[in-house]
Each structure stands twice: as structure tokens, then as C-alpha cells.
Amino acid sequence: MKTIYILWLRELKRYFRSRSRIIGSLGQPILFLLALGYGLGTVFQKAGEGSYFQFLAPGIIGMSIIFTAIFSGIQMIWDRQFGFLKETLVAPVNRLTIMIGRTLGGATVATLQGLLVFLIVLIPGFHPYNWMLVPVAVLFMLLVALLFAALGTAIASLLDDMQGFQLIMNFLVMPLFFLSGALFPIDGLPPVLAGIVRFDPLSYGIDSFRILLTGSGSFGIGVDFAVLAAATAAFLAIGSYLFSKIQI
């Protein structure tokens, strides 16, 4: 328990100490929100879908969570290069607890980042349809964050250096985000795209945020929860397995 706590604490300390990282990682969501939210708002409204800004905000929250979570997992590669990973691996503790501590820490950081974006979207006028459901939405944010932090750790266990980072951004993180329905409604998509969207776990995360924050979604909150929980469990298992196999 203490091991998990100290590893979690480390992730949080690192997060709060790098203010440039916090501010820097807010830039992208804000840009998306401004450019797309206002740029496509009129077209969206003309198509009879209502306020695009209201629609987009949960997607942008999801975006900041997935980016921060995967990134925090992948940061393990730096720990590997700068040597700190060795310090944890030679310690007389179970690797599973190390993996869980790190992942919980990364997930907490990603959830905080999601909350921060939530607060930011309130400024230009996003309004949750029921404030009572916001805490529930935060729990779902944590679940999504856990899922992708575990995925990040799994990937980082396979990589030796940052060379593969660009590859992961372009072929994993970006597709996960763009094909999640964060930016467009997923009802009435062409069948192939609809199939891909259904395969992307982030779709269910963003759907759950939308249901809980704006009151309308596609899959239903029960399905969202089931898929997210199953995917999180699977990635945690894969991540733990790969992490336990690391040799230096």
C-alpha cells in the first residue's frame, strides 16, 4: 500500500512542479475549442444539431485526458533513460504494485488535467445540464484516465528510447482521438467508420462524458461503463504483464 502511495505521490509532485507542462498541455485543447467550436459552430447549427460548442466540450475534455494519460505512461521511457526506473526495479517490492502506483498517479494527473479543461470550458459558456452529475462524470474521467495510463505503460514497457514516440503519437494517440466521436456525432456515420468508432475505447469515454454533462449520448451509460471497465481491466493486465518482463 505504501509503495503504491509513494509512487502515486511522485507522479503528482512531478506534475505540480512542472507548471510549463500544465500550461503547455492546455494549449492544444483550447486551440481545438476555439478553432473548431467557433469555426464549425454555424454549420453544425444549420445542420440542426444544436450548439457545437456544447457538443464539443466533452470531447475536448476527453482529448486532454487521453493525451495526458498516455503521455504519463510513456514517461516511463524517460525514467528508463535517466536511470530512475532501475531504482524502482531493484527494490524489494512486487512489480505489480509499482505498475499500479505509477498508473494511478498518471491517471490522477490526467483526471486533474481533464477537470482543468472542464473549468476552462465553463468560461465561454459551457453549462452542464445537471450539476449533480458532475461528480459522476469525474469518476468516469478517472476510469478513462486509468485505461489510457495503463496503455501508455504497456507501450513504454516495449520501447527502449523515445525514437518510437512520434510513431505512437501519429499511429495510436491521434487515431484514438480523431476516431472517438470527440469531434463529430457518431450516429449515421458510414458503416466502416462507424465500426472503427465502436472499436475505439475512447468513444465510450467521450459518450459517457456527453451523457453525464449534456444529457445526450449514443451508447447509453451502462454500455459505456461496461466497455470502459472491461478495457481498463484488460490494459491493466497487459501493462502489468509487460512491465513485469522489463529487464535492464
Binding site: E87, L89, V90, A91, D160, K245, Q247
Partner: protein, 268 residues
């Protein structure tokens, strides 16, 4: 059991693909001894240390440390040693004190004792005044000192030091060895270090193993090694035993091979 060795290595083998990095290595280290692994670049020193510290799994042979088998009870082995790695392994974004605290928690040192020892050790390596500074502001020598303090925090039976003095100035080097020798005399802690500095091995170690191409080519006190080769200095004895071919080229390709080996192992 006063005669029971603290480290017993038997027939240790490590292969990376076709390349045998450690080839049937056996040796004992006595309790309370200062033991040096001396060898040219790429001889297998670090690979051996990695297996002794359970982060690399050998292809064959056995390691018994402090009475525990590394293959069967790695957690007990890990509790028995402290290690200072060849390259830094501190968290730069944490303070010196936080790095110590982190280590203490991982090794299950109780809170009160942890506080006492952190103070004691940081004072000893003269970093107590800087305990609140982030490690990234430290110089190379300060980081090394902090790592040594950290490696001793859980009072291990053995401390491993992999090329501990690489890149340190003579003052820091001297300070570090004085401290370790004092600790060795006072607490009976076994010191196992690798180096390629002759004078360091000769001055500090009670016994030296010379390793080359993954094999131990000679073992004994510095005097015994000089005697056996009939040379006047340990450096000449070392060259007589390992030849005078420069290893840089070879080490490069070995490193690459090791990297590849690591990559595939990680994937398996």
C-alpha cells in the same frame, strides 16, 4: 556461520543472441570483504552486476547472496543489497530528501528510523544543507554522493558500486572511499565494486577478480596478481593477463548487440 560467503556465484552465463557476455563465471565474496571486479570496457562487469542485482535474468548458473537464491527469492536478495549504478538513477524532479524518502518507503524502513537515517546519511555525505534542493541542480559529484547515501539507507549487507568513481574529481573520490572503508570496518558491510582504474582496485580492494571477454582470468590480492605474472605493478599484471588490444571498437559493437538483446528480451 562465519565462513559462509556472502556472495556465491556458480557457473554464471549470460548470452545476448550469439554473443556470450558472461561465460561460466564463478566466485565467492567473503562477508565484510572489499572485492573489486577489474576489467576492460565490455568485459562483462556491468552485466554480472545486473544479474547479481536481479534486474537481468541469467541463462545459466546460480547466485546466492546473503543466503538467498536470486532465482528463487529475488525479493530477499533485493533487501540484502544496496546499489550505486554506473549512470545516475535519481529522480531529477525530486529533492534530495524526497529521493531518500522514496527509497526508504520502497525498502520498508519504518518512518521514525527513516527520518533518523536520512539525516545521518545526508550529513555524512555533506548534503544535509541541500536536502530541499531539486536533484537537477546538483553537480555530478553531489549526485553520486546522494546515490551512495541512498544505497545505504536500508542498511544492506552488501553494497554494489558499478564504476562508482567515473567522472568524479580526486577529492570526491577520496571522500567517498574513506566513507565506504569506514563503513566496512565499522559495520562489516561487504563492498563489491567494478572499476577499470588500477590504482583504485589496488588501493581499496582486499581481493580483485580480473574479468575479460566474460571470463574471470585471475583472482587474488593485488600482491598475488603481481606475483603470479611477475610484473612490478598491477597495471602491468593486468595487461599481461588481458593483452594490450584496445577494446573501444569491440565495446561499441558489444554495446549495440546488448541493446538489441535488451530490446528482444523486453518484447518476449
Amino acid at each position: 556461520m562465519p565462513d559462509e560467503p556472502i556472495i556465491r556465484v556458480t557457473g554464471l552465463v549470460k548470452k545476448f543472441g550469439d554473443f556470450t557476455a558472461v561465460d561460466d563465471v564463478s566466485f565467492d565474496v567473503k562477508k565484510g570483504e572489499i572485492f573489486a571486479f577489474l576489467g576492460p570496457n565490455g568485459a562483462g562487469k556491468s552485466t554480472t552486476i545486473k544479474m547479481l542485482t536481479t534486474v537481468l535474468v541469467p541463462n545459466g548458473g546460480s547466485i546466492v547472496l546473503n543466503g538467498y537464491d536470486a532465482a528463487k527469492d529475488p525479493a530477499a536478495v533485493r533487501r540484502s543489497f544496496g546499489i550505486v549504478f554506473q549512470d545516475p538513477s535519481l529522480d531529477d524532479e525530486l529533492t534530495a530528501e524526497e529521493n531518500m524518502e522514496f527509497h526508504g518507503v520502497l525498502y520498508g524502513v519504518p518512518a521514525k528510523l527513516r527520518k533518523e537515517r536520512i539525516r545521518e546519511l545526508l550529513e555524512f555525505v555533506e548534503l544535509w544543507d541541500r536536502r530541499k534542493s531539486l536533484v537537477k541542480e546538483f553537480s555530478g559529484g553531489m549526485k553520486r554522493r546522494l546515490e551512495i547515501a541512498r544505497g545505504l539507507l536500508h542498511h544492506p549487507a552488501v553494497i554494489f558500486l558499478d564504476e562508482p568513481t567515473l567522472g568524479l574529481d580526486p577529492q570526491t573520490r577520496n571522500h567517498m572511499w574513506t566513507y565506504l572503508q569506514e563503513l566496512n570496518a565499522k559495520e562489516g558491510i561487504t563492498v563489491f565494486f567494478t572499476t577499470h582504474y588500477m590504482e583504485e582496485a589496488e588501493r581499496i580492494a582486499q581481493r580483485i577478480a580480473i574479468i575479460d571477454h566474460g571470463k574471470i582470468v585471475a583472482m587474488g590480492t593485488a600482491a598475488e596478481l603481481r606475483e603470479r605474472t611477475g610484473k612490478g605493478s598491477l597495471e602491468d599484471a593486468f595487461l599481461a593477463l588481458t593483452g594490450s588490444v584496445i577494446r573501444e571498437e569491440e565495446a561499441g559493437s558489444i554495446d549495440r548487440m546488448r541493446a538489441r538483446g535488451r530490446m528482444w528480451q523486453g518484447r518476449r
